[in-house]
């Protein structure tokens, strides 16, 4: 199931200062750090020769370009940045909020507002190709992102001197706000204004360090040399890849060395075939979600070999507020009344929980909206359509054609909108182009399916990127609904600019929760319907009890055999 998708982001969340420093210092803040998602296992830490896995296809195998979970899941054992999320403290339901130093020897020293961060690199580290890791490699990796026109360049827009690169990414040659000294091994990053989530951004793979010699183009065969415990030795797009131990790896506290010496993957999007590979024992782990029609049967037969994980994700229908009928509140409320969230969970095979919130329950800032704001009520929805004066209007409904479940959810939405008084026209688009097309304002996509998996565990990743009117763009727009309310824009900015010491306080968490409620209930800015659940399927050779689920995905390198 291609629900395990991270969408293209052209714009980073830009908010208040130094928060992540506080997060790391506090060991995950108010709600974080709640233990590993794995159960203990005696075999954990024992190395073995090879694990064979079945994997979904992905967009790129280059950390500067890929924005899909299928790649990121492998990258977590291959590419490191200055800092990393601490995999030992990632817990299901609590996120990976604790940040630890990775290539940097310690968390950065910063000035009072967190706009000047100073890192010192660990000494003697080398890439998998033998080149030493230098401070300039970090800077060049960020510049390379711009040259590649990476979907992650928006994350770095607050770095001083990045404006020229943003204006003309392919000509980017220098970012004055990144000052490096190869001799001393230091990296200094100057921000134009405080940004609370900047350290979290440095944990994304767009900030992973690759050698300066890496070509400024999609580099996939093989992918760029690694600075993590493994490197990708071979990649055949949509077919296979191989990951082996990095011969130059030096252990870093908090970063697991990994158990298998080699990870061999075959790639397919056929869920039934994928499961069959593991059932037959040919492969040890199925990265794809199990086919929902066979889930019950497989659960009965394979019991403990199947693991279920909740993800920090929200599936929702966007409603473009720049175009009728969704420029009217009544129309957006009508959609919220017209969809039966339980039915949408059923259509996903039961792999989800109905929601009316935008923020997933894995966040400490989450507070379930009660009472249920928009219970399923077709009559009420019809009345609201009449009140909005848009009855009979033609509404274009967008959804993904090559994912059976996304497709069904889009078709369900269209059918419900037909019932409440609009005439719908379905636009089913291939998943590869879907977000590019609906994210282009020229398309004028009125309503459609979308989802969001977290990039990093702070609400700015949700509200600033997806609900802030300042982040509406003509192309690659992730704020598909074009949500733009003065008071909520201001509140997003205010919360993002709170002093670091207040970032995870009860009152701040409550304020984020209130913002969630205001947007979803008072403005009905989106129609959220479920938080997703995904599956992991292991062969009988593997010990499923030592699986580490790092908030978004399993860590293959930490899997172990029985």
């Amino acid at each position: 199931m291609r629900t395990k998708r991270v969408r293209s982001v052209a714009v980073a969340a830009v908010v208040a200062a130094g928060l992540a420093l506080v997060v790391s210092a506090c060991g995950g803040g108010g709600g974080g750090g709640g233990g590993s998602s794995s159960t203990s296992s005696s075999s954990q830490g024992k190395t073995f020769s090879q694990i064979k896995v079945v994997w979904g296809t992905t967009d790129y195998m280059d950390p500067g370009l890929s924005y899909r979970l299928e790649s990121w899941q492998i990258f977590q054992d291959v590419y490191l940045g200055l800092v990393a999320k601490n995999p030992q403290t990632c817990g299901v339901g609590v996120g990976c909020t604790k940040i630890i130093p990775a290539i940097a020897e310690a968390l950065p020293k910063s000035n009072s507002d967190g706009t000047d961060l100073k890192f010192t690199l660990r000494k003697g580290l080398k890439f998998s190709n033998g080149e030493p890791i230098k401070a300039s490699d970090f800077k060049n990796s960020i510049i390379r992102d711009f040259k590649l026109n990476s979907p992650g360049i928006g994350f770095f827009s607050n770095i001083a001197g990045s404006e020229a690169c943003e204006g003309n990414p392919s000509k980017c040659s220098d970012i004055s706000g990144i000052i490096v000294d190869d001799k001393a091994g230091t990296v200094e990053i100057k921000l134009t204004k405080p940004q609370s989530d900047f350290l979290y951004i440095l944990t994304t793979f767009f900030a992973a360090i690759v050698p300066s010699s890496t070509p400024d183009k999609d580099t996939e065969n093989p992918p760029p040399p690694a600075d993590g415990p493994y490197y990708i030795s071979q990649y055949k797009p949509s077919r296979s890849f191989t990951v082996v131990r990095n011969p130059n790896w030096q252990s870093i506290p908090g970063i697991p060395d990994g158990n298998p010496d080699k990870i061999t993957a075959i790639m397919t999007n056929d869920l039934a075939q994928s499961a069959q590979y593991v059932q037959s024992g040919q492969y040890d782990y199925d990265e794809n979600t199990l086919p929902t029609d066979r889930l019950k049967q497989l659960q009965q037969k394979y019991g403990e070999q199947i693991k279920l994980w909740r993800t920090p994700s929200t599936y929702y229908f966007f409603m473009n507020q720049r175009t009728p009928p969704f420029d009217k509140l009544e129309a957006r409320q009508a959609v919220n009344y017209a969809i039966n969230r339980q039915t949408l969970v059923d259509l996903r095979g039961g792999l989800g929980v109905p929601t009316w919130n935008f923020l997933p329950p894995t966040y400490p800032q989450y507070k379930k909206i009660t009472p249920t704001p928009y219970p399923y009520d077709l009559q009420k929805a019809k009345q609201l359509v009449q009140q909005s004066g848009t009855a009979g209007m033609t509404v274009g409904v967008y959804t993904i054609s090559d994912d059976d479940i996304d497709k069904k959810q889009g078709e369900y939405l269209a059918s419900q909108l037909d019932k409440i008084g609009w005439k719908t026209k379905l636009h089913e688009l291939a998943g590869a182009n879907y977000f590019v097309i609906v994210g282009n304002q020229k398309t004028k996509a009125q309503i459609g399916f979308t989802d969001w998996f977290e990039d990093y565990p702070y609400p700015t990743d949700w509200f600033d990127v997806l609900q802030n009117g300042k982040n509406i763009h003509e192309q690659h727009n992730n704020n598909n609904s074009n949500v733009n309310f003065k008071d909520t824009n201001a509140e997003i900015d205010r919360l993002g600019h709170l002093p670091p010491s207040q970032a995870f306080t009860d009152s701040t968490n409550a304020a984020w929760a209130a913002l969630d409620k205001k947007l979803m209930v008072q403005y009905a800015s989106e129609a959220p319907f479920l938080n997703g659940v995904i599956t992991s399927f292991f062969s009988s050779r593997m010990d499923p009890n030592c699986d580490i689920f790092t908030d978004l995905f399993d860590d293959v390198a930490q899997m172990c055999v029985k």
């Binding site: 059923d346 259509l347 109905p354």
Partner: protein
């Protein structure tokens, strides 16, 4: 007999046909009468014609089934609904969901499995079960058949008309018109039917066709009709051109020319009647091919656009749940098989009746 390399055909005179029928008994009978007599004796072809008519009538009666039996529109999703079976309420899709426990544990109750065929246990509702969106499979099967047959028949008719015109012009006039039309046939022939169909169907299904006075919406059935009609033109045009070329120099054409008949008159009154039997046979065969192509294109998303049903989209909808709900793909598959086999067997029978020595067939 003339041969173009791709196809063979004969041009039998009434006398030749009469000789095969037993001489004096059929004296004075027209070739059409003789063909009808032969067809009446071919019980297999007639049986399959009956089967095809049965499918056709059933599909034409889809609105009656929808109104009086299933009581649902083919596109109505009833995912959250329920029906009464033997006095008990049963959800159309099984209900499921996930529960989160302590330590991050997740329990899932699998949901969304559609109700199977009811075989009348719930009145007429869901006689053949529901699909993944809770839509009535029986209703969609009939409406889907209507769409598939309409597209197949319409596109075959359009292809045939265009092909006849092009074949007559090319073969009668020869020279530049023949060269241009023949290269046009070659150009289309060079592409595999499905590949060309996908390319055209996908492009046109995004924004429709809006050029000059022609405006066809993206979801219109005219898109697959036009695409299929286009891709099959050389498959009829080339054999017909060959036939006309052979007829062009026959004595009766020369006689008509000598009598002062114009080009149009010769084409319509001398040449066209002489290729009519081949046209009829090719048409029945191309209908079957057009239906199959429509099913293929719809299956691949380049034909009938959702939520409207066609047998192809129904197979596509059912493929992901083939293991648990095989009927979703099997039923439209069976209907396609019946329809195409009946058309092909009847087409063969018709060919045998019209011209027993002919080897008219669609070449790929």
């Amino acid at each position: 007999m003339a041969t173009t390399g791709q196809e063979e055909f004969t041009l039998d005179t009434a006398a030749e046909l009469a000789a095969e029928e037993g001489g004096s008994k059929i004296e004075g009978k027209s070739p059409w009468t003789l063909a009808a007599r032969r067809l009446r004796r071919n019980y297999l072809a007639l049986a399959f014609l009956g089967l095809f008519i049965l499918v056709l009538v059933a599909c034409l009666l889809a609105p009656v089934y929808s109104t009086h039996v299933s009581h649902v529109h083919p596109d109505d999703a009833n995912a959250g609904g329920s029906i009464t079976v033997h006095g008990k309420k049963v959800p159309v899709l099984s209900q499921g969901g996930s529960k989160f426990g302590a330590g991050g544990s997740v329990t899932v109750t699998v949901g969304g499995i559609p109700i199977g065929p009811q075989w009348g246990a719930s009145g007429g509702e869901y006689f053949f079960g529901a699909d993944g969106l809770g839509r009535d499979v029986g209703t969609r099967l009939l409406y889907g058949g209507r769409n598939s047959l309409m597209i197949g028949l319409s596109s075959a008719a359009i292809t045939t008309v265009i092909s006849i015109l092009l074949a007559l012009i090319a073969a009668y006039f020869g020279g530049a018109p023949d060269w241009i039309i023949s290269r046009f046939f070659d150009l289309i022939w060079a592409f595999p039917v499905i590949l060309l169909g996908i390319a055209l169907g996908t492009a046109l299904s995004i924004n429709g066709f809006n050029h000059g006075p022609i405006h066809i919406g993206a979801g219109s059935l005219w898109i697959p009709i036009a695409v299929i009609a286009f891709v099959f033109i050389p498959y009829i045009g080339r054999p017909l051109r060959g036939q006309v070329l052979a007829l062009r120099n026959r004595e009766f054409v020369e006689a008509a020319t000598a009598q002062g008949a114009g080009s149009l008159r010769i084409m319509l009154t001398e040449l066209l009647p002489n290729i009519a039997s081949s046209v009829l046979v090719l048409f029945t065969l191309i209908v079957a091919n057009a239906i199959l192509t429509e099913v293929g294109l719809s299956f691949l998303g380049a034909g009938v656009q959702p939520p409207h049903p066609s047998w192809g989209t129904m197979i596509a909808d059912g493929q992901d749940v083939l293991a648990s709900d095989p009927w979703l793909s099997l039923l439209p598959g069976i209907m396609i098989t019946i329809t195409v086999i009946s058309l092909n067997v009847f087409g063969d029978g018709l060919r045998d009746a019209l011209d027993p020595r002919a080897k008219v067939r669609i070449e790929h």
